[in-house]
């Protein structure tokens, strides 16, 4: 499968839930430490990857999420703390359609509600998670309980009011937006937790990825011991993602420059390791529309799209 060279360092990739050939990539200049950012929307139709649109930002783009209700709408989490909405159907001059400035520090992740489809979450280094809807100029709610940066927030795939957050305070929390506070605190790792995701087939199973190099899978009903501990990455695990097609399949990427695939239900959990990146691998996604299609990006400024089981670098 082909690859795409971005001018800046890759931070995140997301497949469109509407078009199987569409991929959004969040990038940031100078490894996201200083400089501009750019959001790419790529076309993966057979042949070389082409760019449909690109949007420049004043600071690095750390994450991107596709709207679940409109095929052209994107949410970007930007390092200056702003949350920007882009509409592909509008000319570049009209974009971003909205720029929401509430987070006081870097916005690190964005996730669109897959059940209600009207709202999205952003997680920020200002220790908060914010809930937004597309039609409101301000956030609906701020969830402030974490004692350190929140790196990721992910909606439960079945309950439109439930989400989980992963933080540098070494806890993951489960929230219900109808409740005043978090409904569960999971002291999941001894070190910072960088990412979390829900099992798409079992609404009580959650995976957390940590600086301690491990991924842990938890059952929120009996959270005292993890269901599985997935060891195999050589450095901090940056992102973890459950497969939309197989309940026990997990993809992850790490500072060890690899993308790994795991089946947490079996004993030899590591079922695939891809070492195609030459710098930190920080973004990974699995296509909802094409089973087994993976995308990854990293600080080597490359976006790879490949079918599981094939070599990402194969032309």
């Amino acid at each position: 499968m082909p690859l795409f060279k971005t001018p800046f360092n890759g931070y995140s990739v997301k497949f469109s839930p509407f078009y199987e050939h569409r991929l959004a990539v969040a990038t940031a200049q100078n490894f996201g430490i200083l400089g501009n950012g750019r959001l790419h929307v790529l076309d993966l139709s057979p042949g070389p990857i082409s760019e449909i649109a690109a949007f420049d930002t004043a600071d690095g783009v750390y994450d991107v999420a596709w709207s679940e209700s409109h095929d052209s709408l994107l949410v970007a989490a930007v390092a200056d703390g702003s949350v920007k909405l882009y509409d592909l159907s509008l000319p570049p001059a009209s974009n971003p359609v909205r720029s929401l400035h509430e987070h006081t520090r870097e916005a690190h992740s964005a996730d669109y509600n897959p059940v209600r489809r009207d709202s999205f979450l952003t997680a920020s280094w200002d220790d908060t998670v914010k809930l937004w809807t597309v039609d409101r100029p301000t956030s609906v709610r701020t969830f402030k309980e974490h004692a350190y940066c929140v790196y990721s927030a992910a909606w439960n795939p079945r309950h439109g009011d439930v989400f989980a957050s992963a933080s540098g305070d070494c806890t993951a929390r489960v929230w219900d937006v109808r409740e005043p506070g978090s409904t569960m605190i999971l002291p999941a790792h001894e070190f910072e937790i960088l990412s979390c995701d829900w099992n798409k087939y079992d609404d009580c199973v959650i995976a957390t990825a940590s600086v301690d190099k491990s991924i842990k899978v938890w059952d929120v009903r009996s959270y005292r011991v993890p269901v599985a501990v997935l060891n195999g990455h050589g450095y901090a695990v940056r992102k973890v993602k459950f497969s939309p097609h197989r309940g026990s399949l997990i993809a992850s990427c790490s500072y060890d420059m690899t993308v790994c695939l795991w089946d947490y239900m079996v004993e030899d959990a590591l079922i695939g390791r891809y070492d195609h990146h030459t710098e930190f691998a920080v973004g990974v996604d699995m296509s909802v529309l094409v089973e087994g299609l993976l995308a990854s990006t990293g600080w080597d400024e490359l976006v790879y799209v490949w079918q599981h089981g094939t070599d990402p670098r194969a032309p």
Binding site: S222, R238, M265
Partner: protein, 464 residues
């Protein structure tokens, strides 16, 4: 504050003291897990089927018969256990050699002798020599402990299929202390209280928590009434394995073969006025009588557990899922309060709340402690021991836990989807309590047009 480059650097420096410095500077301490405060923990697991769940595919028991006078007065203990073990294998068509271990809860018999008897019973039941067996003794909850031990071992991966059982012949092994008592117990009230006759602990509970004689007798009448109704409507037929044995006529000494298939302790016409005439046994002005205490009985029960993945592979129907187990300690002088402590503990450990539980089997060791636990936990009497309890059916100590599993799961099966979680609990002599949470097994109900659905419970409580 930390700048962005430090962030990435920090993610890479596992165990760097710099990292801990940050944490302490920001006042971060290890944060304890707190139980779901949303109030509706069940919201997140309305449909959970795990391949590594420990499930119960079969649970059977013998009839329970009065010791020394009842149907099993001339039956050896191994002849009680063998039929239920055999039934598990026969009714599921499982190859007995696939069983990883058999654990038998048994209390009164001498340890090593009973272990040998159990081994023999396994041979009688048709198990090959390759299948091991052991006993466990946690007094009155031994049967439940056996089931929990097997579930734990399956979870731990020691084996995939196991049998938890219970066995007691109170005819052969009456309650007694052998040898002398260490005089040191006088130095410690708690140790001394371990020697109190159970009936005295019952009087203590009645007195300390003011449970009246009237309430106790009422509970006994209810127990008999419900047990009689269950027997009459054939409910126990699904769980009872008839036992072919012999009985000796005490006068003539004639031995004749007999098949026992019903519990013989139930008195359908027990009434408040009759029970009121009985004299207290343990204390002159006490409240505990032979009528409002559990009966002394003989019996056995057995439960077949396995990993869900194995059960699915074999196409076996899933009767229930073993969720969790808890044992707690209480004051030996009022050992009967055990369930009042154990039930909240186990329900919490399962991530549930008391009102998520649809059915309870709480062992009626004594009406005093049973009534106390029911009142203390504010449980709906309609949900407890719906088919009667130990006051009517009997309490063969080691077998009771396994008996309760059979009774509870078959009742949950009959009740269908409306009955999702069940709890079994009992008090334990010398001051303990044990409890376990079970979940209804099959995702699909048996077809029943007659069942009345009170309220729909398809959605979580949040949605109401």
């Amino acid at each position: 504050m930390i700048d962005r480059s430090a962030h990435a650097a920090k993610h890479l420096c596992l165990g760097n003291p710099f990292f801990f410095f940050f944490l302490t500077e920001l006042g971060l301490i290890y944060i304890q897990a707190s139980v779901c405060a949303a109030g509706d923990s069940a919201a997140y697991h309305r449909s959970s089927v795990y391949r590594d769940d420990v499930v119960i595919v079969a649970a059977y028991r013998t009839p329970l018969c009065k010791s020394k006078r009842g149907g099993f007065k001339d039956t050896y203990a191994d002849d009680l256990l063998a039929p239920v073990l055999k039934a598990l294998i026969e009714k599921t068509n499982l190859s007995p050699s696939e069983v990883g271990d058999i654990v038998v809860g048994t209390v009164l018999a001498p340890g090593s002798q009973r272990a040998s008897e159990c081994r023999m019973a396994a041979f009688y039941a048709g198990f090959p020599e390759t299948v091991p067996i052991r006993t466990v003794n946690r007094q009155c909850s031994s049967g439940l402990q056996a089931v929990a031990d097997v579930a734990a071992a399956i979870k731990a991966g020691f084996y995939d299929i196991g049998i938890g059982a219970g066995l007691e012949s109170m005819t052969a092994n009456p309650m007694a202390w052998e040898g002398s008592v260490n005089p040191r117990i006088k130095t410690m009230a708690q140790a001394q209280n371990c020697l109190l006759p159970m009936g005295v602990t019952s009087e203590n509970v009645a007195q300390r928590f003011s449970v009246t004689r009237q309430e106790q007798d009422q509970a006994a009448v209810e127990s008999h009434r419900k047990a009689a109704a269950a027997t009459a409507s054939g409910k126990f037929r699904e769980e009872i394995i008839p036992v072919a044995t012999k009985i000796v006529d005490p006068k003539t000494g004639d031995e004749k073969p007999i098949t026992i298939s019903v519990d013989d302790g139930i008195r359908p016409n027990a009434s408040l006025s009759d029970l009121g005439k009985l004299k207290p046994v343990f204390k002159k002005d006490g409240t505990t009588t032979a009528g409002n205490s559990s009966q002394v009985s003989d019996g056995a029960g057995a439960v077949l557990l396995m990993k869900r993945s194995v059960a699915m592979q074999k196409g076996l129907p899933i009767l229930g899922v073993f969720r969790t187990f808890a044992a707690v300690g209480v004051d030996p002088a009022i050992m009967g309060v055990g369930p009042a402590v154990a039930i909240p503990a186990v329900v919490k450990a399962a991530g549930l709340e008391l009102d998520d539980i649809d059915l309870f089997e709480i062992n009626e060791a004594f009406a005093s402690q049973f009534v106390y636990c029911r009142k203390k936990l504010e449980l709906d009497p309609e949900k407890i021991n719906v088919n009667g309890g130990a006051m009517a059916l009997g309490h063969p100590l080691g077998a009771t836990g396994a008996r309760c599993v059979a009774t509870l799961l078959h009742e949950m099966k009959r009740r269908g989807k409306d009955c999702r979680f069940g709890v079994i609990s009992m008090c334990i002599g010398t001051g303990m309590g044990a409890a376990a949470v079970f979940e209804r097994g099959d995702c699909v109900d048996d077809l029943s047009n007659a069942r009345k659905i009170e309220t729909h419970n398809l959605l979580s409580k949040d949605s109401r």
